[in-house]
């Protein structure tokens, strides 16, 4: 694990919106084979952090390097699965065409998607086990199924790092397990960063966890202490640890 290449590096990154800080002195390295979970409360800056890595937001201060480039140039190595709730569920497009959107940059300009693009899209649909739904209108699918389609859309772009923003929101429990198993499968092909406000589920699958609430607390391991959680959430937090037969819940001061 020592010789792993660092693919994303953030140094002293600050993001301010109208003078209010959303991220403060964030330092983070993501390695080639990482499966990193970033947890934190809603409004803690998780989506902002992903947008900084993707170059959608310019940090007010600090350095960001993505595959050795600026985020705008490095984003061609980064796949993105945005938060589910942002989509117009009535949009007139079928599943296959949503997945094909991930090939937009590969496809020839002024032309339709090629047969090769379609082959790759079908493969991705197989990977997420949604091939039978290729002709369905995207809005007709359940939350978990849509999430799989958006993962397939990110996969066809053939990237080395996959950023997932709250992939478990509006996904029911059995489907969550299936999605985590899908990530298990994908992690051999790419680095994965998964952002969530749900502490309990994330921790079983990822191999590193960071806590984010404006500041990032990161120890390069999966082990978290109650102090880490308190620093992040700024109040005692209930930790339901999987495989550990008790829960830690301390009193509010």
């Amino acid at each position: 694990m020592q010789h792993e290449r660092t693919i994303v590096k953030l140094e002293d990154v600050w993001v301010l919106f109208d003078g209010v800080s959303v991220l403060e002195e964030v330092n983070l390295s993501i390695n080639q084979h990482d499966f990193l979970g970033i947890i934190g409360p809603n409004g803690g800056g998780k989506t902002t952090l992903l947008k900084v890595i993707l170059g959608l937001l310019k940090p007010s201060r600090g350095q960001v390097s993505v595959f050795g480039h600026t985020p705008e140039r490095g984003r061609k190595f980064v796949g993105y699965v945005p938060q589910y709730s942002l989509f117009d569920r009535e949009f007139p497009v079928n599943v296959l065409n949503v997945v094909l959107m991930g090939r937009l940059k590969h496809a020839k300009r002024f032309k339709r998607y090629s047969e090769e693009d379609k082959e790759i899209a079908y493969e991705a649909l197989e990977t997420v086990e949604m091939h039978d739904f290729k002709d369905a209108q995207i809005g007709k699918l359940s939350g978990g199924q849509q999430q799989r389609i958006f993962i397939a859309r990110a996969l066809v772009a053939e990237r080395k790092l996959l950023l997932l923003d709250e992939p478990m929101a509006s996904v029911d429990s059995p489907m969550q397990t299936e999605l985590y198993e899908l990530f298990e499968k994908l992690r051999h092909q790419m680095a994965i960063v998964l952002v969530s406000h749900d502490i309990s589920a994330v921790s079983i699958y990822v191999d590193k966890i960071a806590c984010l609430n404006r500041k990032l607390f990161y120890h390069n391991t999966k082990e978290l202490t109650a102090e880490d959680f308190e620093a992040t959430y700024q109040c005692p937090v209930e930790i339901i640890a999987h495989g550990v037969p008790h829960r830690v819940l301390r009193e509010h001061k």
Binding site: L54, R75, K76, E90, F91, V93, N97, M101, L104
Partner: protein, 277 residues
């Protein structure tokens, strides 16, 4: 009714209606699914400045609208994307500036502006052949651009941010789409006038998307509906001697109400009822 078709003004009116239907049927779908009705309304109204410009320089006012509406589209797009001014505020401001410029240009023009009302509310029965040619050229431009950039337009309409993360220049594509809306406005001016343009850009697409679920089929159905609304409105206008632009809009609006009510009726089990525009 058939005998009136031999008059040139009626032939021109029908050709104008058909060309307008092609343009607004296709572009209207993007306007509705990308939810850019407000900016489209802004471009349409600001286009009035171009009509004033035409009067001022003594050229065909419709020709004056081409550069003016494109300038309005680009400035609205750039101001709303790049500045910190909220998008709807920026559009509202540019909307009224465009119209005010039109009024000033008309006032500065020598003589009277006799057909002004027609440019505001449409006068499909007085479309000259020169305007038909311009409309034809613009319709060809619109179709060719949509044909070559449809997958890009579809992607930015569905999820602009994701397209950006792929490395696609979404801002430029958005500006191209706004320019196509500006050209559609030019095509529609003679048919329904700048004030009523937004009706044909939204109503046919809004009805079509209730019944079909791919962009292509919505576009085809929209073109068809638009053709029915414009010719139907034209017929009512002729039969009752009422303004054509307003009749076209009322026919479209009535059709929308009827379709929405039919959809909203307690549907049979398993039928999809929900829709939104």
């Amino acid at each position: 009714m058939i005998e009136i078709l031999q008059y040139e003004f009626m032939q021109n009116a029908l050709i104008a209606a058909l060309l307008a239907s092609i343009a607004c049927g296709i572009i209207g779908v993007y306007v509705v699914v990308k939810r850019i009705v407000f900016i489209s309304g802004g471009i349409a109204h600001a286009a009035f400045g171009g009509i004033g410009l035409g009067y001022f320089f003594g050229i065909d006012p419709v020709l004056g609208v081409v550069p003016f509406s494109i300038a309005a589209a680009l400035s609205m797009g750039i101001v709303s994307k790049r500045t910190r001014i909220p998008e709807d505020t920026a559009i509202g401001i540019l909307w009224v500036i465009g119209m005010a410029l039109g009024v000033i240009f008309v006032a500065l023009s020598p003589g009277y502006a006799p057909e002004l009302f027609g440019y505001l509310f449409g006068s499909i029965l007085t479309v000259p052949t020169s305007d038909i040619i311009l409309m034809l050229i613009l319709a060809v431009v619109i179709i060719s651009v949509v044909f070559s950039l449809h997958k890009e337009f579809q992607a930015i309409s569905f999820d602009e941010e994701f397209a950006t993360t792929l490395g696609v220049n979404t801002e430029r594509l958005y500006l191209v789409l706004l320019c196509l809306i500006a050209l559609t406005v030019v095509v529609l001016i003679r048919v329904v006038g700048v004030i009523l343009v937004i009706a044909l850009l939204t109503i046919p697409a809004a009805i079509s998307r209730q019944f079909t679920h791919t962009m292509k089929s919505i576009m085809l159905l929209s073109v068809f509906l638009c053709a029915i609304f414009t010719t139907g409105g034209l017929w009512f206008s002729y039969a009752f001697d009422l303004p054509s632009g307003a009749m076209i809009v009322l026919v479209s609006g009535t059709a929308f109400l009827i379709c929405s009510l039919l959809k909203a009726l307690p549907a049979k089990k398993g039928m999809h009822t929900g829709f939104s525009i």
